[in-house]
């Protein structure tokens, strides 16, 4: 098991009298790619800035590489950051930009030169050292920003939505490349984004935040299939959240009928998450081959190419989403039966507030 290189403990932060971070704690393993994910205003950037030292937490501690850093000024931490808007110094060439932090450290000029050139080569910027940022495309500027951070060999690399200014195609390729470099160098990385695709595809560990609360930390797989709060279930992908009555058993009551969950449900109201892609449809009850079967009516359907999305209404009047992949030419209409397997459901007991 890899060692813990960074730990945030009970971090709180206020802007004026508004609390923007509520008691956030998490650990980061050496070499891991950890993503802070959440909608805008959830506090993810604030966390990143506290790690970089631009904000001081109003309570709690941050440990990095064995040293408590929350009261250390930003320039004395080794937490190189890639800014969302790149923040390249417009009056310096690419080479000078990348060398800046090394010059500040008064490194030997030959050492600086070697490290800068290595970083430029790694980011496929070889031969562009004499250019100024405004002579480069957005994608190239982004590479310079990454090179400038990498060259510092930071204890933790901080990335603040670095891909948000790139177009969709470029974003895809930079994502793959960034992850490969990070893995090769074994760089511990904290990545902030509001894009769940990015988070799921790149991370070793994802931290979901909302309104300053940490909802869940887990692998992309855990986050997707075992969300701990309704917010996480809803934020990652799409899901049907159904309130059911638990009974310290696998069977829960839902309206006049019962459903079978994936785990024993405690007594009281709990939330059951069922992903739309886990639901199947059939014309008759006999054709439904799963533990959970409900009669529904199709409100309407949308053809999306690889799948058809159905909006269904059950006997209680509740709306369900169902995605039927590889649909062929068959479109269901009117009264049908929907069914899903118990092991595809997920019980959520926490409210998250």
């Amino acid at each position: 098991m890899a060692e813990i290189v960074m730990e945030l403990k009970n971090i709180n932060k206020f802007f004026g009298s508004t609390q923007v971070i509520h008691d956030v704690s998490f650990q980061v393993k050496k070499g891991d790619f950890v993503t802070l994910l959440g909608p805008s205003g959830c506090g993810k950037t604030t966390i990143l800035r506290m790690i970089a030292g631009f904000y001081e937490p109003d309570g709690g501690s941050i440990t990095l590489a064995g040293r408590q850093i929350e009261h250390i000024p930003p320039y004395a931490r080794n937490t190189a950051m890639v800014f969302q808007e790149y923040a390249l110094f417009p009056h310096m060439t690419v080479y000078e930009n990348v060398a800046y932090g090394l010059h500040v450290r008064h490194l030997d000029e030959s050492e600086v030169k070697k490290r800068v050139e290595d970083a430029l080569k790694l980011m496929q910027l070889k031969g562009m050292g004499d250019r100024y940022p405004n002579q480069m495309s957005g994608g190239q500027q982004q590479r310079v920003a990454v090179a400038r951070a990498l060259v510092m060999k930071p204890d933790v690399l901080l990335l603040d939505e670095p891909l948000s200014n790139l177009d969709a195609k470029l974003r895809e390729s930079v994502r793959v490349e960034l992850r490969a470099i990070q893995r090769d160098m074994g760089l511990t990385t904290i990545y902030v984004t509001h894009d769940q695709q990015e988070a799921l595809s790149m991370s070793d560990s994802v931290i979901i935040m909302q309104k300053g609360h940490l909802h869940q930390q887990g692998t992309p797989h855990e986050i997707y299939f075992a969300p701990r709060t309704p917010f996480v279930a809803d934020f990652i992908g799409t899901t049907n959240l159904v309130e059911v009555e638990g009974n310290d058993a696998l069977i829960v009551s839902y309206g006049d009928t019962t459903l079978m969950a994936d785990a024993v449900c405690p007594a009281g109201t709990v939330t059951l998450s069922v992903r739309p892609e886990s639901i199947r449809l059939a014309d008759t009850e006999d054709e439904a081959e799963a533990e959970n079967v409900l009669p529904v009516e199709v409100s309407y359907s949308m053809f999306l190419g690889e799948k058809v999305r159905y909006f269904l209404k059950d006997a209680t009047g509740r709306e369900w989403l169902a995605d039927i992949f590889d649909p062929g030419r068959r479109i269901f209409e009117g009264k049908v039966w929907m069914y899903f397997r118990a092991d595809r459901t997920h019980v959520i007991t926490e409210s998250g507030e």
């Binding site: 009970n10 709180n12 932060k13 206020f14 802007f15 004026g16 009298s17 609390q19 509520h22 008691d23 970089a52 030292g53 631009f54 001081e56 109003d58 309570g59 009261h71 000024p73 930003p74 320039y75 004395a76 080794n78 937490t79 190189a80 950051m81 800014f83 969302q84 808007e85 923040a87 390249l88 110094f89 417009p90 009056h91 800046y100 932090g101 500040v104 450290r105 400038r148 510092m152 609360h213 940490l214 909802h215 926490e350 998250g352 507030e353």
Partner: protein, 553 residues
Amino acid sequence: MQAASAGREQTGWASEIRALRREPQLLLAIGLLFLMFAVFIIYPFIKLILVPSALDWALAITGKEFQEAFVHTLFSSLLSTASAMVMGFLYAYAMNYTDLPGRRFFQVVALLPSMAPTVVSGLAFIMLFGRRGFITYNLLDLKVDLYGWFGLWVVQTIAFFPLAYITISGVLKSISPNLELAAQNLGAKGFYLFRTVTLRLATPGLASAFLLVAINSLADFGNPMLVGANYHVLATEAYAQVVGAWNLPMGAVLSVFLVIPTLIVFFIQRYYLEKNSYVTVTGKPVAGLTRVTVSPAVRWMLFAFCCFISLSILLIIGVVCLFAFTRTFGFDYTFTMDYFIEGVLQSSSLKNSWMASMTTAVFTTLLGIALAFLTLRRRFPGRAVMDFLAMLPVSLPGTFIGLALIMAFNSGPLEMTGTLVIVVVGMTLRQLPVGYRQAVSGLSQIEKSLEQASTNLGADSLTTFWKIIVPMLKNSLSVSFVYSFMRSMNTLSTVIFLISPEWNLASINIMSLANQGFLTVASATAVGMMLTIFLTFGLAKLILRDQINIFDL
């Protein structure tokens, strides 16, 4: 998920001081700046207020001639400010909202008078319309006396027109054309568009411009001296008390009277207008959009108006040149270099002015950027006080600053009277708000993330300041350099009490020569002054290699 622990942001002195203690250089810089303010602003002003006795105050308040001067000051400065503003607005509107032919020419001409002290308009007035004026006496053979409030009004209107024009032009430029396009898109046009959108958006900026011009004209000293005749104003009264009667305390009282209206104006501007300003600098240049919103008739009226103003300005400069290079203009038209040699080449005053103004420009530029960096980008106790003190001199009449400085530094360990140092101190105080303002606006356009990137890469405040802030603000810094140089060269009221026989200045020479009737040498000195400023700009452009064109300001 645990419930949030109670608490609030750790603000206030304690945490700010804790943060400062980690950066001793920053602490040192802040300390030095506060020390500078204490020595050069707070101490002299307290001294100035304490010097006059209760009797002096009583005498000044009850003295009939002083009451008269107070009323004169308010009346004449408000009148000339209003007329300069109207002219400045029409001119600026024509430059920014029409496609008049010769706009470039008009723009350049409008700024020419700011290359010379405001007394030059008074000087030209005497030469053209005075008792022996070229137009009134030689051409029209009139024996009129235009001295007094009327002459002063005309002269001050022209003298303050450039300032009004530059300021208003800045206000109009900062209105986003998108808003006017939106209004046009919704059907507004012509005067309706002007009244409901343009004027409404410009109003707070116009009010600020009015106040700026008013403060300058309230405190102006040279023109009331030259063409005011028996129409005494506070600035000339104070001068008469100090230099004529050597009654320093009375001069101090009068200059405090002068400060009262300007301070009121300053507070109105600072705490009311700035909060109600709609003008936002978007930083997004709207390319290729010309705002042609006037009808052809209005367009030609504006064109005629601009021609009239430009011709008046050229007439002033022309007559100054003619007087400078002919033996006795109006009577003997032989070309001569005698006056130029006497007023410029043999006099040390221009050299002194240049040295003092250059030094001032360097100081104000550096101080301005340092102060702006601290007040905008660092948190420390007394930040608001620092901002206030840096802007305060804008509201202080030059005569007040000058008097306060001689009273504070004519004896004791910091004795500086009779040196060029005190002249530089006075000029620097007066121009500091210009440098500070310029740096603040430049700095607010720089993304904060650039500095954070520097800090994040290991640079402390000082390194970030020199390696990132200063180079990025290069253009903005050269503007404030050029500006404070120009204004220091031209200032009269600030330095009138600070000069000494060894350290005379060109602006004062022009005024006193004109006052004593040596119009030719005064004109030659004014020409020398304009040439010096032009040559210095050329030189600065070569050295700084900037993109700044002073006529685009």
